[in-house]
Assembly symmetry: C2
Homo-oligomer: 456 residues x 2
């Protein structure tokens, strides 16, 4: 069993603790402006749910906090409450949103951090019988026509306001703005052991990876377990039919071109997964000492952005044309599954339907010959794909990993390739594993809250 | 290392085997119709790549096969080759597609089942110097202006044709058509041991799950390992911060409402994952014997379809409005990770950008209070969500699992809930784990090919 903690909820939870049981009758005040100076301090009364535990310490009221998060006025309109905060900013709060997000123990489980209330439990047209600003602006109390009573803390309302700044703040906690790059990019490099053992270093690594899509970790232990150790410190290893982790070295009769010494064109890994592995950890255990075996890297999101700007027709063709990617085979070594046949039909450049943002880029020799298009659309699509690949090549950087280094890449975004080498002249041994972004983003947010770091 | 096998490639591969080394000069025939009756039998000559292994047995020519898959004529046009097959059907094949999909050992690795050719290796405007229908229609040979020579087998061309039927066939291999359902649905039930030990039964289970989104497996062993055993026989268990598998039973101070005896509203699991778990295996180890503890089930895709048809305004609001789902907590038991903070911003009904098909439905008490909307859009959104939930309830079926039964659900599609029960009166113990669709679909395709089953 886990106990969940959220700062906003905690603050609000104070309102529902013991010692606040003095009921005070409220007067109906439709559309009436109430200021903290007009109302007497008032506490809220609720049925204390059996599931409610007043286990969170109640901080002493702080005048600073009070001023920063205070409510100056609360205006009850027809469908919304307009709240003006002490800092002069104001926001409308729709009644149905307020009712749905009542933080009382009957409506919200502060252990599970989960709404207990379902939509059936309240009327869509419920509205306030009265609204009171309490404790000199510390919170606002709503007495609903239906009989329910809700208290909302000033700080919680400010955090959840429908203002551009509050909305931006949550958006940047969801995802950090990506920094697109081209040939001038200097590959970010960090120490593996620092990242493994320092919260600040791990946060820095995860933020850089989210922004740039690539980081090189230096001085990792030269053993296959190193990729698993770091992934397990962040989230879960994502297994595929190639195993939880797998060596990349030259072999005869290889199941993948990766297992040869041939040049690999610019690609991302396993694009034939609906849930493409989010992050690649490619660990160079032994680098080939002769010529070749370098990695080319390009920012697929930058390439998409470039095409959108300078070649809008080709960009549109690449976003509007789904392509079959596939992988099929029979395993012959321990870490692989016995048989697999994976297919997706997805464009080279994938846009989010609502925002239009590029959210995934796919490119691989593992395009299937099947193409679900009218034949007259095929030649223009090839021309666009050719332009995409030329741009990827032109905008790429080249790096040869040292033995012990680990190349970490956003596989939804990065295109990577390898120059050929002659395996007759020496060994080249990489080990690889995957982690999904769900785990990495979760860890980044946990560390941000732990270290109190706000990011744009 | 794995060796990959594909029927279409195998057939084509015969053309590149030993004993077919007799070079024959070809004549330029732009835009000229060539019929099998006009050409002498001809074999193809190629540089035999060191990576090429003639390890596939060459079947003896079959007159039936010849007739069914034969090429009657090949017309070379400006940008495409028009091929008419022996069955009277014809298709255009764009030259760039033909060149990109040359199956010769220089262009294609039949071990890796992967294109070796990159776009840099050929010219976009390459076109045939000559086209010859060979071996009485068994294959067609293209001599390119650039000097390269390609052979395409009739059957391979027919399979990969740009005709509606060939395109439909590949589309249905990718994904089986879903059968939407409402209250009249009879829950599909299959024997756990049959599915575990029979290829046909496993295929039947996977196909039914893909079509209906739900199957009950009966007579599973009443032990927690049962969910892992069946998932591992299909693909990989998907771990989450709740562990690889986890018990669902009533507890004090629960981290999730699931861990109480309270009613659970209709929801899907973990909608706050970008990569939401695809399939839920919910195993009833011990059912509560008193009143309650039943599961309500509804087809979210049917509900979306219903709203689209009868309430298009609300449907559009639900597809166009992203909502924050979240889960945050600190683990206190072994199978959970230490801390997590997962968030996505995603609509209740998710449409594919290109097809407009509904591909995912999300609903949960774990909607965050944050809502990234202008306040005037909030009330209409709540009205639409209310309609969605009412429709889910109205269109649902109720089922109480017996001890030993396993409820398997498509978590991208199904909404499920639980009626409350009184945990003071007895035990209720479920065990749960997840599998992604990437693994399940792969297994279905492998079994289809193994058993020779074609599905619509």
């Amino acid at each position: 069993m886990s106990r969940r903690v959220l700062q906003g909820v905690l603050s609000s939870a104070r309102l529902w603790g013991k010692g606040r049981q003095n009921a005070v009758g409220l007067v109906a005040v439709p559309s009436q402006r109430l200021t903290s100076s007009l109302t007497a301090p008032l506490s809220c009364t609720f049925i204390t749910s059996h599931a409610w535990h007043n286990s969170h310490p109640t901080p002493a009221p702080s005048p600073t906090h009070h001023n920063a998060a205070g409510i100056r006025t609360a205006d009850a309109g027809k469908e919304m409450l307009e709240i003006t905060f002490a800092d002069g900013n104001s926001s409308f709060f729709p009644y149905c949103w307020l009712r749905d997000n009542c933080q009382c123990p009957q409506c919200f489980d502060s252990d599970a951090l989960c709404r207990k209330l379902t939509l059936e439990d309240w009327q869509h047209n419920d509205c306030p019988r009265s609204v009171q600003v309490e404790e000199g602006g510390r919170h606002v109390e709503v007495q609903w026509v239906s009989g329910h009573r809700s208290c909302y803390e000033a700080q919680w309302l400010q955090q959840h306001a429908f203002t551009p700044s509050a909305r931006d703040s949550q958006r940047s906690f969801l995802a950090i703005k990506k920094e697109l790059w081209s040939t001038e990019m200097e590959l970010p490099r960090m120490d593996y052991n620092g990242v493994m053992h320092g919260d600040k270093e791990l946060l820095d690594f995860l933020v850089t990876l989210e922004k740039k899509g690539v980081v090189v970790l230096t001085d990792a232990p030269r053993e296959p377990e190193a990729v698993l150790t770091i992934i397990n410190s962040i989230g879960y290893v994502k297994p595929t039919h190639y195993g939880t982790n797998y060596p990349i070295r030259s072999k005869a009769s290889a199941s993948s071109l990766a297992y040869t010494d041939q040049r690999l064109g610019m690609h991302n890994d396993l694009p034939y997964f609906q849930y493409v592995p989010g992050i690649i950890f490619l660990h160079c255990i032994t680098q080939f000492e002769g010529k070749g075996g370098e990695n080319d890297l390009a920012d697929g999101f930058h390439v998409a952005d470039y095409l959108k700007q300078f070649h809008p027709t080709e960009y549109r063709i690449l976003t509007d044309t789904p392509v079959y990617f596939w992988d099929k085979g029979v395993a012959q070594v321990k870490q692989e599954t016995t048989e697999y046949h994976k297919i997706v039909n997805i464009p080279i450049i994938v846009e989010d339907r609502l925002s239009g943002d590029v959210v995934r880029v796919n490119n691989s020799q593992l395009r299937n010959s099947y193409l679900d298009l009218p034949p007259e659309q095929v030649t223009p699509w090839y021309a666009a794909l050719r332009l995409f690949n030329q741009t990827v090549d032109q905008q790429s950087i080249r790096n040869k990993l040292n033995s012990g280094e680990m190349l970490v890449m956003d596989n939804t975004r990065l295109m990577h390739g390898r120059t050929g080498y002659d395996s007759a002249l020496g060994e080249r041994h990489m080990n690889q594993a995957y982690l999904d972004w769900d785990g990495a983003l979760s860890r980044r947010r946990v560390l941000q809250e732990k270290l109190g770091v706000t990011l744009e």
